[in-house]
Protein backbone atom coordinates (compact mmCIF):
# COMPACT_ATOMS: atom_id res chain seq x y z
CA UNK A 1 0.00 0.00 0.00
CA UNK A 2 1.14 3.54 -0.67
CA UNK A 3 -0.42 5.31 2.28
CA UNK A 4 1.73 6.17 5.28
CA UNK A 5 1.41 3.69 8.17
CA UNK A 6 1.08 5.02 11.70
CA UNK A 7 1.82 2.98 14.84
CA UNK A 8 -0.56 3.25 17.77
CA UNK A 9 -1.31 1.28 20.91
CA UNK A 10 -4.71 -0.33 20.41
CA UNK A 11 -6.02 1.10 23.68
CA UNK A 12 -5.20 4.59 22.40
CA UNK A 13 -6.66 4.13 18.93
CA UNK A 14 -9.81 6.24 19.33
CA UNK A 15 -8.00 9.12 21.03
CA UNK A 16 -5.21 8.95 18.46
CA UNK A 17 -7.52 9.22 15.45
CA UNK A 18 -9.80 11.78 17.11
CA UNK A 19 -6.88 13.95 18.22
CA UNK A 20 -5.44 13.68 14.72
CA UNK A 21 -8.53 15.44 13.39
CA UNK A 22 -9.54 12.49 11.22
CA UNK A 23 -12.90 11.49 12.69
CA UNK A 24 -16.39 12.94 13.03
CA UNK A 25 -16.25 12.60 16.81
CA UNK A 26 -17.83 9.16 16.94
CA UNK A 27 -15.67 6.06 17.43
CA UNK A 28 -14.21 4.59 14.25
CA UNK A 29 -12.94 1.21 13.12
CA UNK A 30 -9.13 0.87 12.85
CA UNK A 31 -8.01 1.29 9.22
CA UNK A 32 -5.42 -1.49 9.29
CA UNK A 33 -3.81 -2.78 6.12
CA UNK A 34 -5.86 -5.96 6.34
CA UNK A 35 -9.15 -4.13 6.73
CA UNK A 36 -8.35 -1.68 3.94
CA UNK A 37 -7.30 -4.52 1.61
CA UNK A 38 -10.60 -6.30 2.33
CA UNK A 39 -12.51 -3.10 1.64
CA UNK A 40 -10.74 -2.62 -1.71
CA UNK A 41 -11.48 -6.25 -2.57
CA UNK A 42 -15.16 -5.49 -2.04
CA UNK A 43 -15.00 -3.40 -5.19
CA UNK A 44 -12.73 -5.86 -6.98
CA UNK A 45 -9.61 -3.72 -6.46
CA UNK A 46 -6.36 -5.48 -5.66
CA UNK A 47 -4.51 -3.78 -2.81
CA UNK A 48 -1.56 -3.26 -5.17
CA UNK A 49 -3.85 -1.03 -7.24
CA UNK A 50 -5.09 1.07 -4.34
CA UNK A 51 -3.33 4.12 -5.72
CA UNK A 52 -5.77 4.43 -8.62
CA UNK A 53 -7.38 7.85 -8.53
CA UNK A 54 -11.09 8.36 -8.06
CA UNK A 55 -11.00 12.06 -8.87
CA UNK A 56 -9.42 15.31 -7.85
CA UNK A 57 -10.13 18.84 -6.65
CA UNK A 58 -8.15 21.22 -8.85
CA UNK A 59 -8.29 24.24 -6.57
CA UNK A 60 -6.81 22.19 -3.73
CA UNK A 61 -4.47 20.13 -5.88
CA UNK A 62 -5.95 17.19 -4.02
CA UNK A 63 -6.45 13.74 -5.51
CA UNK A 64 -8.41 10.97 -3.84
CA UNK A 65 -7.27 7.42 -4.53
CA UNK A 66 -9.11 4.17 -3.89
CA UNK A 67 -6.91 3.42 -0.88
CA UNK A 68 -7.91 6.59 0.99
CA UNK A 69 -11.54 5.98 0.06
CA UNK A 70 -11.19 2.49 1.56
CA UNK A 71 -9.60 3.92 4.72
CA UNK A 72 -12.64 6.16 5.17
CA UNK A 73 -15.01 3.27 4.51
CA UNK A 74 -13.27 1.08 7.08
CA UNK A 75 -13.27 3.86 9.67
CA UNK A 76 -16.97 4.48 9.02
CA UNK A 77 -17.81 0.82 9.62
CA UNK A 78 -18.71 -0.19 6.06
CA UNK A 79 -18.80 -3.82 5.01
CA UNK A 80 -16.71 -4.49 1.88
CA UNK A 81 -19.83 -5.12 -0.20
CA UNK A 82 -20.83 -1.49 0.34
CA UNK A 83 -17.61 -0.19 -1.16
CA UNK A 84 -18.73 -0.03 -4.82
CA UNK A 85 -21.47 2.36 -3.69
CA UNK A 86 -19.00 4.45 -1.67
CA UNK A 87 -16.66 4.68 -4.67
CA UNK A 88 -19.45 5.75 -7.02
CA UNK A 89 -20.65 8.36 -4.53
CA UNK A 90 -17.14 9.75 -4.12
CA UNK A 91 -16.58 9.82 -7.88
CA UNK A 92 -19.79 11.82 -8.20
CA UNK A 93 -18.79 14.16 -5.39
CA UNK A 94 -15.44 14.68 -7.15
CA UNK A 95 -17.06 15.55 -10.45
CA UNK A 96 -16.08 19.21 -10.73
CA UNK A 97 -19.77 20.02 -11.23
CA UNK A 98 -20.42 19.01 -7.62
CA UNK A 99 -17.80 21.52 -6.44
CA UNK A 100 -16.96 19.54 -3.33
CA UNK A 101 -14.56 22.06 -1.87
CA UNK A 102 -17.25 24.74 -1.83
CA UNK A 103 -19.90 22.37 -0.54
CA UNK A 104 -17.57 21.42 2.33
CA UNK A 105 -16.33 24.86 3.28
CA UNK A 106 -19.25 27.23 2.66
CA UNK A 107 -20.90 28.83 5.65
CA UNK A 108 -24.12 27.14 4.46
CA UNK A 109 -23.00 23.80 5.87
CA UNK A 110 -24.14 21.31 3.24
CA UNK A 111 -24.35 17.58 3.83
CA UNK A 112 -23.36 15.21 1.06
CA UNK A 113 -26.75 13.56 0.59
CA UNK A 114 -26.33 10.14 -1.07
CA UNK A 115 -29.34 8.54 -2.80
CA UNK A 116 -29.00 4.96 -4.04
CA UNK A 117 -31.39 3.72 -6.75
CA UNK A 118 -31.36 0.23 -8.20
CA UNK A 119 -31.08 -3.43 -7.28
CA UNK A 120 -27.77 -3.21 -5.40
CA UNK A 121 -29.45 -1.19 -2.65
CA UNK A 122 -31.55 -4.15 -1.53
CA UNK A 123 -28.73 -6.62 -2.16
CA UNK A 124 -26.48 -4.88 0.35
CA UNK A 125 -29.32 -4.44 2.82
CA UNK A 126 -30.00 -0.73 2.52
CA UNK A 127 -33.13 0.64 4.13
CA UNK A 128 -35.76 2.25 1.90
CA UNK A 129 -38.60 1.60 4.31
CA UNK A 130 -39.55 3.02 7.69
CA UNK A 131 -36.99 5.49 9.05
CA UNK A 132 -35.17 5.52 5.67
CA UNK A 133 -33.61 8.93 6.18
CA UNK A 134 -32.48 8.23 9.70
CA UNK A 135 -30.64 5.78 11.93
CA UNK A 136 -30.70 2.04 12.43
CA UNK A 137 -29.43 0.58 9.18
CA UNK A 138 -25.77 -0.30 8.84
CA UNK A 139 -25.45 0.27 5.09
CA UNK A 140 -27.27 3.61 5.04
CA UNK A 141 -25.40 4.86 8.09
CA UNK A 142 -21.89 3.81 7.14
CA UNK A 143 -21.97 4.60 3.40
CA UNK A 144 -23.02 8.17 4.14
CA UNK A 145 -20.48 8.43 6.92
CA UNK A 146 -17.68 7.05 4.71
CA UNK A 147 -18.36 9.63 2.01
CA UNK A 148 -18.23 12.41 4.58
CA UNK A 149 -15.03 11.16 6.22
CA UNK A 150 -13.31 10.73 2.86
CA UNK A 151 -14.26 14.24 1.79
CA UNK A 152 -13.19 15.85 5.05
CA UNK A 153 -9.84 14.07 5.06
CA UNK A 154 -9.22 14.80 1.39
CA UNK A 155 -9.93 18.49 1.82
CA UNK A 156 -8.28 18.55 5.26
CA UNK A 157 -11.03 20.88 6.43
CA UNK A 158 -10.69 19.73 10.03
CA UNK A 159 -6.91 19.66 9.88
CA UNK A 160 -6.44 23.08 8.30
CA UNK A 161 -9.35 24.85 9.97
CA UNK A 162 -10.99 25.54 6.61
CA UNK A 163 -14.37 24.13 7.63
CA UNK A 164 -16.35 27.34 7.38
CA UNK A 165 -19.81 26.04 8.20
CA UNK A 166 -21.71 28.43 10.43
CA UNK A 167 -24.13 25.89 11.87
CA UNK A 168 -24.29 22.71 9.86
CA UNK A 169 -26.90 20.04 10.51
CA UNK A 170 -26.94 16.39 11.65
CA UNK A 171 -26.84 15.13 8.04
CA UNK A 172 -23.19 16.07 8.00
CA UNK A 173 -22.47 12.94 10.06
CA UNK A 174 -24.14 10.75 7.47
CA UNK A 175 -26.99 11.27 5.03
CA UNK A 176 -27.65 8.28 2.80
CA UNK A 177 -30.80 6.44 1.86
CA UNK A 178 -32.18 4.14 -0.81
CA UNK A 179 -35.10 4.36 -3.18
CA UNK A 180 -37.99 1.94 -2.70
CA UNK A 181 -38.32 -0.72 -5.37
CA UNK A 182 -40.29 0.54 -8.35
CA UNK A 183 -43.95 -0.37 -8.08
CA UNK A 184 -45.03 1.07 -11.36
CA UNK A 185 -44.16 4.75 -11.10
CA UNK A 186 -40.63 4.48 -12.47
CA UNK A 187 -37.35 4.94 -10.66
CA UNK A 188 -34.61 7.50 -10.32
CA UNK A 189 -32.06 5.40 -12.19
CA UNK A 190 -34.48 4.67 -15.06
CA UNK A 191 -35.18 8.39 -15.28
CA UNK A 192 -31.45 8.98 -15.66
CA UNK A 193 -31.45 6.71 -18.71
CA UNK A 194 -30.14 3.49 -17.14
CA UNK A 195 -31.46 -0.06 -17.44
CA UNK A 196 -33.30 -1.83 -14.62
CA UNK A 197 -30.28 -3.90 -13.63
CA UNK A 198 -28.10 -0.81 -13.09
CA UNK A 199 -27.68 0.87 -9.73
CA UNK A 200 -26.97 4.58 -9.53
CA UNK A 201 -25.80 6.91 -6.82
CA UNK A 202 -26.94 10.52 -6.77
CA UNK A 203 -25.11 12.99 -4.56
CA UNK A 204 -26.56 16.35 -3.61
CA UNK A 205 -25.07 19.11 -1.44
CA UNK A 206 -28.02 19.66 0.82
CA UNK A 207 -29.43 21.45 3.77
CA UNK A 208 -31.39 19.36 6.22
CA UNK A 209 -34.68 17.74 5.17
CA UNK A 210 -37.91 19.67 5.61
CA UNK A 211 -40.68 17.30 6.69
CA UNK A 212 -43.83 17.76 4.64
CA UNK A 213 -47.04 16.56 6.25
CA UNK A 214 -50.20 16.02 4.27
CA UNK A 215 -52.24 13.21 5.78
CA UNK A 216 -55.72 14.14 4.62
CA UNK A 217 -55.45 15.21 1.02
CA UNK A 218 -55.13 12.39 -1.54
CA UNK A 219 -55.56 14.78 -4.44
CA UNK A 220 -52.32 15.07 -6.48
CA UNK A 221 -52.79 18.81 -6.61
CA UNK A 222 -52.86 18.95 -2.84
CA UNK A 223 -49.73 16.82 -2.45
CA UNK A 224 -47.84 18.92 -5.01
CA UNK A 225 -49.00 22.13 -3.35
CA UNK A 226 -47.71 20.94 0.03
CA UNK A 227 -44.32 20.00 -1.41
CA UNK A 228 -44.04 23.27 -3.31
CA UNK A 229 -44.85 25.27 -0.19
CA UNK A 230 -41.79 23.77 1.50
CA UNK A 231 -39.65 24.37 -1.59
CA UNK A 232 -40.40 28.08 -1.59
CA UNK A 233 -39.89 28.64 2.12
CA UNK A 234 -38.89 32.30 1.92
CA UNK A 235 -36.02 32.20 4.41
CA UNK A 236 -34.27 29.31 2.69
CA UNK A 237 -31.18 30.45 0.80
CA UNK A 238 -32.32 29.43 -2.67
CA UNK A 239 -35.95 30.60 -2.61
CA UNK A 240 -36.54 33.04 -5.43
CA UNK A 241 -33.00 32.82 -6.76
CA UNK A 242 -34.11 30.88 -9.83
CA UNK A 243 -31.69 27.97 -9.92
CA UNK A 244 -32.23 25.73 -6.93
CA UNK A 245 -32.00 21.95 -6.97
CA UNK A 246 -33.98 19.64 -4.72
CA UNK A 247 -34.20 16.03 -3.68
CA UNK A 248 -37.84 15.17 -3.01
CA UNK A 249 -38.01 12.13 -0.73
CA UNK A 250 -41.54 11.15 -1.56
CA UNK A 251 -43.29 9.01 1.02
CA UNK A 252 -45.19 6.00 -0.36
CA UNK A 253 -48.59 7.45 0.57
CA UNK A 254 -47.88 10.55 -1.45
CA UNK A 255 -46.58 8.50 -4.36
CA UNK A 256 -49.82 6.50 -4.37
CA UNK A 257 -51.86 9.72 -4.38
CA UNK A 258 -49.92 11.07 -7.34
CA UNK A 259 -49.84 7.79 -9.26
CA UNK A 260 -53.51 7.00 -8.75
CA UNK A 261 -54.35 10.57 -9.69
CA UNK A 262 -52.74 9.97 -13.06
CA UNK A 263 -49.62 12.05 -12.51
CA UNK A 264 -46.24 10.95 -13.86
CA UNK A 265 -42.92 11.77 -12.25
CA UNK A 266 -42.37 14.31 -15.03
CA UNK A 267 -45.75 15.88 -14.24
CA UNK A 268 -44.72 16.30 -10.61
CA UNK A 269 -41.34 17.85 -11.48
CA UNK A 270 -42.97 20.25 -13.92
CA UNK A 271 -45.69 21.27 -11.47
CA UNK A 272 -43.19 21.76 -8.64
CA UNK A 273 -41.09 23.99 -10.89
CA UNK A 274 -44.09 26.23 -11.49
CA UNK A 275 -45.55 26.07 -7.99
CA UNK A 276 -42.26 26.76 -6.22
CA UNK A 277 -42.20 30.26 -7.69
CA UNK A 278 -42.50 32.78 -4.90
CA UNK A 279 -44.09 36.22 -4.71
CA UNK A 280 -41.44 38.88 -4.20
CA UNK A 281 -43.63 40.35 -1.47
CA UNK A 282 -43.53 37.01 0.43
CA UNK A 283 -39.76 37.27 0.55
CA UNK A 284 -39.91 40.88 1.68
CA UNK A 285 -42.53 39.98 4.30
CA UNK A 286 -40.11 37.37 5.64
CA UNK A 287 -37.42 40.03 5.95
CA UNK A 288 -35.49 38.80 2.93
CA UNK A 289 -34.09 41.57 0.74
CA UNK A 290 -34.00 40.96 -3.02
CA UNK A 291 -30.46 40.72 -4.34
CA UNK A 292 -30.02 42.74 -7.50
CA UNK A 293 -26.91 43.42 -9.50
CA UNK A 294 -25.20 40.56 -7.66
CA UNK A 295 -24.51 36.99 -8.73
CA UNK A 296 -28.04 36.13 -7.56
CA UNK A 297 -30.13 38.50 -9.58
CA UNK A 298 -33.59 38.56 -8.01
CA UNK A 299 -35.58 40.71 -10.40
CA UNK A 300 -39.26 39.66 -10.22
CA UNK A 301 -41.11 38.61 -13.34
CA UNK A 302 -43.94 40.79 -14.66
CA UNK A 303 -46.41 38.97 -12.39
CA UNK A 304 -44.38 39.84 -9.30
CA UNK A 305 -43.08 36.31 -8.80
CA UNK A 306 -39.54 34.95 -8.74
CA UNK A 307 -38.60 31.45 -9.83
CA UNK A 308 -37.00 29.08 -7.33
CA UNK A 309 -36.22 26.29 -9.83
CA UNK A 310 -35.33 26.90 -13.49
CA UNK A 311 -35.47 23.36 -14.86
CA UNK A 312 -37.75 20.45 -13.85
CA UNK A 313 -34.73 18.14 -14.14
CA UNK A 314 -33.25 19.94 -11.15
CA UNK A 315 -35.84 18.22 -8.99
CA UNK A 316 -34.76 14.68 -8.07
CA UNK A 317 -37.84 12.65 -7.14
CA UNK A 318 -37.22 9.48 -5.15
CA UNK A 319 -39.80 7.38 -3.34
CA UNK A 320 -38.60 6.18 0.04
CA UNK A 321 -39.76 5.53 3.58
CA UNK A 322 -42.47 3.44 5.17
CA UNK A 323 -46.18 3.46 4.63
CA UNK A 324 -48.70 4.56 7.22
CA UNK A 325 -48.63 8.33 7.14
CA UNK A 326 -48.72 11.13 4.63
CA UNK A 327 -45.12 12.23 5.04
CA UNK A 328 -42.53 13.32 2.51
CA UNK A 329 -39.38 15.40 2.79
CA UNK A 330 -38.12 18.30 0.71
CA UNK A 331 -34.34 18.33 0.78
CA UNK A 332 -32.98 21.54 -0.75
CA UNK A 333 -29.51 21.99 -2.16
CA UNK A 334 -27.89 24.46 0.16
CA UNK A 335 -27.27 27.01 -2.61
CA UNK A 336 -28.27 27.66 -6.25
CA UNK A 337 -26.69 25.33 -8.77
CA UNK A 338 -24.11 27.82 -9.95
CA UNK A 339 -22.33 26.96 -6.71
CA UNK A 340 -22.66 23.20 -6.75
CA UNK A 341 -24.73 20.72 -8.72
CA UNK A 342 -26.39 17.40 -8.04
CA UNK A 343 -24.40 14.63 -9.78
CA UNK A 344 -25.30 11.00 -10.50
CA UNK A 345 -23.06 8.03 -11.25
CA UNK A 346 -23.58 4.43 -12.20
CA UNK A 347 -22.22 2.01 -9.60
CA UNK A 348 -19.53 -0.14 -11.18
CA UNK A 349 -19.65 -3.71 -9.89
CA UNK A 350 -16.56 -5.61 -8.72
CA UNK A 351 -14.44 -6.75 -11.64
CA UNK A 352 -16.25 -4.54 -14.12
CA UNK A 353 -13.81 -3.21 -16.66
CA UNK A 354 -13.76 0.31 -18.05
CA UNK A 355 -15.40 0.67 -21.45
CA UNK A 356 -12.97 0.15 -24.31
CA UNK A 357 -12.44 2.47 -27.22
CA UNK A 358 -15.11 0.88 -29.37
CA UNK A 359 -14.90 0.26 -33.08
CA UNK A 360 -12.66 3.26 -33.68
CA UNK A 361 -10.26 2.22 -30.95
CA UNK A 362 -7.15 4.29 -30.37
CA UNK A 363 -3.75 3.15 -29.22
CA UNK A 364 -1.33 5.71 -27.88
CA UNK A 365 2.42 6.01 -27.63
CA UNK A 366 3.12 6.96 -24.02
CA UNK A 367 6.76 7.74 -24.65
CA UNK A 368 5.81 10.27 -27.28
CA UNK A 369 3.17 11.81 -25.05
CA UNK A 370 5.26 12.15 -21.92
CA UNK A 371 8.21 13.59 -23.75
CA UNK A 372 6.33 16.73 -24.73
CA UNK A 373 5.43 18.17 -21.35
Amino acid sequence: MQTELLAVDDADLQDFLYDGGWTDGLPVVAPTEEAVAAMLAGAGIDSADGGQPIGSIPSHQATLDAEHAAVAAVMAGCLPEYFPVVLAALAAALDPAFNLQVACTSTGGAAICVVVSGPLAAQIGMNAGHNALASGNRANATIGRAVRLAAVNLLRTQLDGTEGTSLGHPGKYSFCFAERADDGWGSLHAGLGYHDDVTTVTVAPTSGPIQVANHLNADPDGVAASLAAAMRMPSSFSAGKGAAQFVIALGPEHEVALREGGWTRADLRRELTVRSRIRAQDLLDAGVLLEQGSHHDMVPDADGFLGTVSDPDDIVVVTTGGAGGGWSAVIPSWAPKKHAQVVSRRVRLPGEKLPDCGPDGCAIDWDAIEGRL
Binding site: T3, L5, L6, V8, D9, D10, A11, L13, L17, G21, P31, T32, E33, V36, Q52, P53, I54, G55, S56, I57, P58, H60, Q61, A62, T63, D65, V71, A72, D95, P96, A97, N99, V102, S106, L149, N153, R156, L159, G193, H295, D313, K338, H339, A340, Q341, V343, R345, R346, P355, D356, C357, G358, D360, G361, C362, A363, I364, I369, R372, L373
Partner: protein, 180 residues
Protein backbone atom coordinates in the same frame (compact mmCIF):
# COMPACT_ATOMS: atom_id res chain seq x y z
CA UNK B 1 -0.59 -3.46 25.03
CA UNK B 2 -0.89 -4.42 21.37
CA UNK B 3 0.59 -2.17 18.72
CA UNK B 4 -1.64 -1.46 15.76
CA UNK B 5 -0.50 -0.17 12.40
CA UNK B 6 -3.14 2.02 10.76
CA UNK B 7 -3.20 3.88 7.47
CA UNK B 8 -3.06 7.65 7.67
CA UNK B 9 -6.56 8.91 6.73
CA UNK B 10 -5.74 12.30 5.22
CA UNK B 11 -4.20 12.98 1.83
CA UNK B 12 -0.83 14.68 1.74
CA UNK B 13 -1.18 17.58 -0.72
CA UNK B 14 2.57 17.61 -1.34
CA UNK B 15 2.12 14.31 -3.19
CA UNK B 16 -0.09 15.91 -5.77
CA UNK B 17 1.46 19.31 -6.42
CA UNK B 18 1.62 20.41 -10.06
CA UNK B 19 4.92 20.37 -11.88
CA UNK B 20 3.98 23.39 -13.98
CA UNK B 21 1.72 26.40 -13.67
CA UNK B 22 -1.52 26.43 -15.60
CA UNK B 23 -2.59 29.42 -17.67
CA UNK B 24 -4.14 32.15 -15.51
CA UNK B 25 -7.95 32.29 -15.62
CA UNK B 26 -9.83 35.50 -16.49
CA UNK B 27 -13.43 36.58 -17.11
CA UNK B 28 -14.96 34.70 -20.03
CA UNK B 29 -16.87 37.58 -21.59
CA UNK B 30 -15.48 38.35 -25.04
CA UNK B 31 -13.15 35.35 -25.06
CA UNK B 32 -12.69 33.34 -28.26
CA UNK B 33 -13.25 29.61 -27.73
CA UNK B 34 -11.68 26.89 -29.84
CA UNK B 35 -13.00 23.34 -29.52
CA UNK B 36 -10.35 20.74 -30.36
CA UNK B 37 -12.49 17.83 -31.47
CA UNK B 38 -10.98 14.37 -31.77
CA UNK B 39 -13.47 12.88 -34.20
CA UNK B 40 -14.99 10.39 -31.75
CA UNK B 41 -18.64 9.65 -32.59
CA UNK B 42 -20.91 12.52 -31.48
CA UNK B 43 -17.93 14.43 -30.01
CA UNK B 44 -18.39 17.39 -32.34
CA UNK B 45 -22.12 17.50 -31.55
CA UNK B 46 -21.59 17.41 -27.79
CA UNK B 47 -18.63 19.79 -27.58
CA UNK B 48 -20.03 22.13 -30.21
CA UNK B 49 -23.25 22.43 -28.23
CA UNK B 50 -21.35 23.11 -25.01
CA UNK B 51 -19.44 25.78 -26.95
CA UNK B 52 -22.65 27.38 -28.19
CA UNK B 53 -24.03 27.49 -24.66
CA UNK B 54 -20.81 29.07 -23.40
CA UNK B 55 -21.16 31.79 -26.03
CA UNK B 56 -24.80 32.42 -25.19
CA UNK B 57 -24.59 32.23 -21.43
CA UNK B 58 -21.19 33.77 -20.69
CA UNK B 59 -20.82 36.19 -23.58
CA UNK B 60 -17.90 34.53 -25.30
CA UNK B 61 -17.11 36.18 -28.62
CA UNK B 62 -16.99 33.04 -30.76
CA UNK B 63 -16.74 29.26 -30.88
CA UNK B 64 -14.53 27.67 -33.53
CA UNK B 65 -14.09 23.94 -34.03
CA UNK B 66 -10.64 22.55 -34.82
CA UNK B 67 -10.59 18.96 -36.01
CA UNK B 68 -7.39 17.14 -35.14
CA UNK B 69 -5.95 14.21 -37.06
CA UNK B 70 -7.49 11.51 -34.87
CA UNK B 71 -8.48 10.51 -31.39
CA UNK B 72 -5.19 8.73 -30.77
CA UNK B 73 -3.13 11.70 -31.96
CA UNK B 74 -1.97 14.66 -29.91
CA UNK B 75 -1.91 18.06 -31.60
CA UNK B 76 1.46 19.06 -33.03
CA UNK B 77 3.53 22.02 -31.84
CA UNK B 78 2.57 23.85 -35.03
CA UNK B 79 -1.08 23.28 -34.26
CA UNK B 80 -0.59 24.52 -30.70
CA UNK B 81 0.80 27.79 -32.08
CA UNK B 82 -1.92 28.04 -34.72
CA UNK B 83 -4.72 27.53 -32.18
CA UNK B 84 -3.10 29.81 -29.59
CA UNK B 85 -3.01 32.62 -32.15
CA UNK B 86 -6.79 32.71 -32.46
CA UNK B 87 -8.13 31.32 -29.16
CA UNK B 88 -8.39 32.67 -25.64
CA UNK B 89 -9.82 29.46 -24.15
CA UNK B 90 -9.88 25.85 -25.39
CA UNK B 91 -12.17 22.88 -24.86
CA UNK B 92 -10.89 19.43 -25.90
CA UNK B 93 -12.47 15.99 -26.16
CA UNK B 94 -14.21 13.73 -26.20
CA UNK B 95 -12.43 11.42 -23.79
CA UNK B 96 -14.78 8.45 -23.72
CA UNK B 97 -12.11 5.77 -23.73
CA UNK B 98 -8.63 5.29 -22.35
CA UNK B 99 -6.43 6.43 -25.23
CA UNK B 100 -8.57 9.29 -26.46
CA UNK B 101 -8.91 10.76 -22.98
CA UNK B 102 -5.13 10.70 -22.57
CA UNK B 103 -4.62 12.44 -25.91
CA UNK B 104 -7.34 15.04 -25.39
CA UNK B 105 -5.96 15.70 -21.92
CA UNK B 106 -2.56 16.33 -23.39
CA UNK B 107 -4.04 18.62 -26.03
CA UNK B 108 -5.44 20.67 -23.16
CA UNK B 109 -2.17 20.67 -21.23
CA UNK B 110 -0.18 21.72 -24.32
CA UNK B 111 -2.55 24.65 -24.73
CA UNK B 112 -2.09 25.52 -21.04
CA UNK B 113 1.65 25.61 -21.59
CA UNK B 114 1.02 28.02 -24.43
CA UNK B 115 -0.87 30.27 -22.00
CA UNK B 116 -4.42 29.31 -23.01
CA UNK B 117 -6.84 28.20 -20.25
CA UNK B 118 -8.22 24.82 -21.29
CA UNK B 119 -10.15 21.83 -20.10
CA UNK B 120 -11.03 18.37 -21.38
CA UNK B 121 -14.46 16.75 -21.59
CA UNK B 122 -14.45 13.09 -20.50
CA UNK B 123 -17.21 10.57 -19.88
CA UNK B 124 -17.76 9.40 -16.33
CA UNK B 125 -15.93 6.05 -16.27
CA UNK B 126 -12.76 7.93 -17.24
CA UNK B 127 -12.78 10.51 -14.48
CA UNK B 128 -10.33 8.44 -12.43
CA UNK B 129 -8.31 7.41 -15.45
CA UNK B 130 -7.83 10.95 -16.72
CA UNK B 131 -6.81 11.98 -13.20
CA UNK B 132 -4.15 9.30 -13.33
CA UNK B 133 -3.00 10.55 -16.75
CA UNK B 134 -2.88 14.10 -15.46
CA UNK B 135 -0.72 13.00 -12.55
CA UNK B 136 1.61 11.22 -14.96
CA UNK B 137 1.86 14.38 -17.03
CA UNK B 138 2.61 16.61 -14.06
CA UNK B 139 -0.75 18.16 -13.16
CA UNK B 140 -2.34 15.67 -10.78
CA UNK B 141 -5.45 17.68 -10.03
CA UNK B 142 -6.25 19.07 -13.47
CA UNK B 143 -9.80 20.36 -13.82
CA UNK B 144 -11.96 18.35 -16.20
CA UNK B 145 -15.58 18.28 -17.31
CA UNK B 146 -17.45 15.00 -16.82
CA UNK B 147 -20.42 13.87 -18.93
CA UNK B 148 -22.47 10.65 -18.75
CA UNK B 149 -21.29 7.50 -20.54
CA UNK B 150 -21.82 6.35 -23.21
CA UNK B 151 -22.12 9.33 -25.51
CA UNK B 152 -21.99 7.78 -28.97
CA UNK B 153 -25.24 5.78 -28.74
CA UNK B 154 -27.43 8.40 -27.06
CA UNK B 155 -30.36 10.31 -28.47
CA UNK B 156 -29.97 13.89 -29.64
CA UNK B 157 -32.17 14.98 -26.73
CA UNK B 158 -29.93 13.19 -24.20
CA UNK B 159 -26.82 14.85 -25.63
CA UNK B 160 -28.51 18.24 -25.67
CA UNK B 161 -29.29 17.82 -21.97
CA UNK B 162 -25.77 16.60 -21.19
CA UNK B 163 -24.32 19.62 -23.00
CA UNK B 164 -26.55 21.97 -21.05
CA UNK B 165 -25.46 20.43 -17.77
CA UNK B 166 -21.79 20.50 -18.72
CA UNK B 167 -21.79 24.19 -19.60
CA UNK B 168 -21.48 25.66 -16.10
CA UNK B 169 -18.72 23.20 -15.09
CA UNK B 170 -16.87 24.00 -18.32
CA UNK B 171 -17.13 27.71 -17.64
CA UNK B 172 -15.78 27.16 -14.15
CA UNK B 173 -12.71 25.36 -15.51
CA UNK B 174 -12.00 27.91 -18.23
CA UNK B 175 -12.55 31.22 -16.51
CA UNK B 176 -13.42 33.02 -13.33
CA UNK B 177 -16.94 32.18 -12.17
CA UNK B 178 -18.24 33.17 -8.78
CA UNK B 179 -18.64 30.64 -6.01
CA UNK B 180 -20.55 30.79 -2.76
Amino acid sequence: MTKLMVLRPDVDPARTASRFALAPRAALSGARLTVIGNGKPRAAELLGTIGSHLVQRYGLASCTVFGKAGASQVITDEQVHEIAASADVVLTGLGDCGGCSACSLQDALLMERAGIPSTVVVSEPFQGRVTAYAAKLGVPAYGVVVVPHPVSSRSAAFLADAALRATEPAARQLGTVENA
